[in-house]
């Protein structure tokens, strides 16, 4: 979706003003710690995947997304996921009172399991039978498509030409994954010249590399 999260190339956002590396705390407010931990812990209940989680944040009104701080967006996403998955009701969220008539059968992450679960991670590699459509060194073009659901082809790449520099094999396809389906597609890294993305005035020996799934791409020589 062309949401408030798709920021590559946006103007007017100002300077970065980084905090000093040695002084910056991991969390800036106590509540951020809890939002972070609640998001991870409830994620382990297995009701949603990482793309659904991203999509829940992206689906906010773009003004909210941009105005919110980072962990405010996490909180908004978490509330959406909890309600969409039926783990909480709107009424519970609003009142703060637990409705005991909906008992849960969830297997909850325990302190003892945290270390192992984090270490285990979750591979997104998904072997697929078809061979890759594009080869290293091939010119490709990002299809100029604007899906209303979740996608990981940034707007600034659409309709642009680049060169495949790496094949990663089959990876879970995020557009489907955000709808709860686990399908695999070949994943590639595509190199774009800055001038192709941003115009000739910005051609100062810069390249942008973007990981793109096969259905985002078409052969560079074919006009859409």
């Amino acid at each position: 979706m062309n949401g408030g999260h798709d920021l590559g190339g946006m103007h007017g956002l100002g300077a970065i003003n980084p905090e000093s590396e040695t002084d910056e705390p991991v969390f800036h407010h106590p509540w951020e710690r809890r939002v972070f931990a609640l998001t991870l812990a409830t994620g382990f209940l297995g009701h949603w995947n990482i793309d659904q989680s991203r999509h829940a944040r992206e689906r906010q009104h773009p003004i909210d997304y941009l105005r919110n701080t980072y962990y405010e967006n996490w909180l908004a996403g978490l509330q959406t996921l909890l309600i969409d998955s039926g783990l909480l009701t709107e009424a519970e969220l609003k009142s703060g009172f637990c409705d005991k008539s909906f008992p849960n059968q969830e297997i909850v992450l325990t302190k003892k399991e945290v270390k192992a679960k984090l270490q285990e991670g979750k591979s997104v590699e998904l072997p697929i039978a078809t061979s890759p459509q594009f080869v290293i060194g091939q010119e490709v073009m990002v299809v100029n498509r604007h899906p209303i659901g979740h996608t990981r082809a940034p707007r600034y790449t659409r309709g642009r030409r680049g060169t495949v520099i790496h094949q990663h094999g089959g990876h879970i396809f995020p557009d489907d994954h955000a709808m709860g389906d686990q399908t695999g597609q070949h994943l590639y890294t595509v190199c774009f010249d800055a001038a192709e993305l941003w115009g000739q005035d910005n051609a100062d020996n810069e390249q942008v590399y973007v990981d793109l799934w096969e259905s985002y791409l078409t052969s560079g020589r074919t006009k859409q």
Binding site: G9, F36, G96
Partner: protein, 213 residues
């Protein structure tokens, strides 16, 4: 909640200050989820403790310093980063698929995630605020040299800037160039010289001087 929005640099409230609206809201949500039996408070504390105190850029610095002193490891790291990094004990969530980007005299790498905040957690911990900020996400891909300038990193146009937008689950770690004049420095000391920012690519490492400034 609104009052946080106007700050670029959020800071912890004084203990004497009344809790903010969002603080109360998060507290209420946590209580509700605990009461529903959906989360365990001790597990939440453990998750926070892990990323606040145990997993951080020291892990990535270990990988980088070893790559500088051990050519066999370096080769392994570049050819098969996942297995090389796991051999030092780092793996897991948000680091399942890693690629290492080597800086050279003619190539400088810079990592961003324009769509969210993807970052190699097992090696660098959680990302700093600026990495997740809208200005960095917007500008790193479209004007990387200006972005680098803002970090005090001034690179001539003879050096190619390669920006990596983390759109997939591949995670990118920059292997910075070893500081000039550090040939006789031990691996343990080198590790102390590696900054987090150099492993994201917004900084290069300065010339080593054992008198230090």
């Amino acid at each position: 909640m609104q009052d946080d929005h106007d700050h670029d640099h959020a800071h912890d409230h004084d203990a004497t200050e009344a809790p903010s609206e969002i603080e109360l809201r998060v507290k209420a949500l946590e209580s509700l989820l605990v009461e529903k039996g959906l989360v365990d408070s001790a597990a939440l504390d453990e998750l926070v403790d892990t990323y606040e105190h145990h997993v951080g850029p020291q892990n990535g610095a270990h990988v980088v310093a070893k790559a500088w002193v051990d050519p066999v490891f370096r080769e392994h790291l570049l050819a098969n980063p996942g297995s090389a990094i796991a051999s030092l004990g780092y793996s897991g969530r948000q680091g399942e698929h890693i690629r290492v980007l080597q800086n050279t005299d003619s190539v400088h790498n810079l990592v961003v995630c324009t769509l969210c905040s993807c970052y190699p957690w097992p090696l660098l911990g959680l990302p700093p605020q600026w990495y997740k900020s809208a200005p960095y996400r917007a500008r790193a891909v479209s004007e990387p040299r200006k972005v680098l300038d803002e970090f005090g990193t001034h690179l001539g146009t003879d050096i190619s800037i390669q920006v990596w937008d983390s759109t997939s689950e591949m995670r990118y770690l920059v292997l910075p160039q070893r500081p000039v004049n550090s040939d006789n420095v031990s691996e343990a000391e080198l590790q102390q010289l590696v900054t987090r920012n150099s492993m994201i690519g917004v900084e290069t490492l300065k010339v080593f001087s054992d008198t230090n400034d």
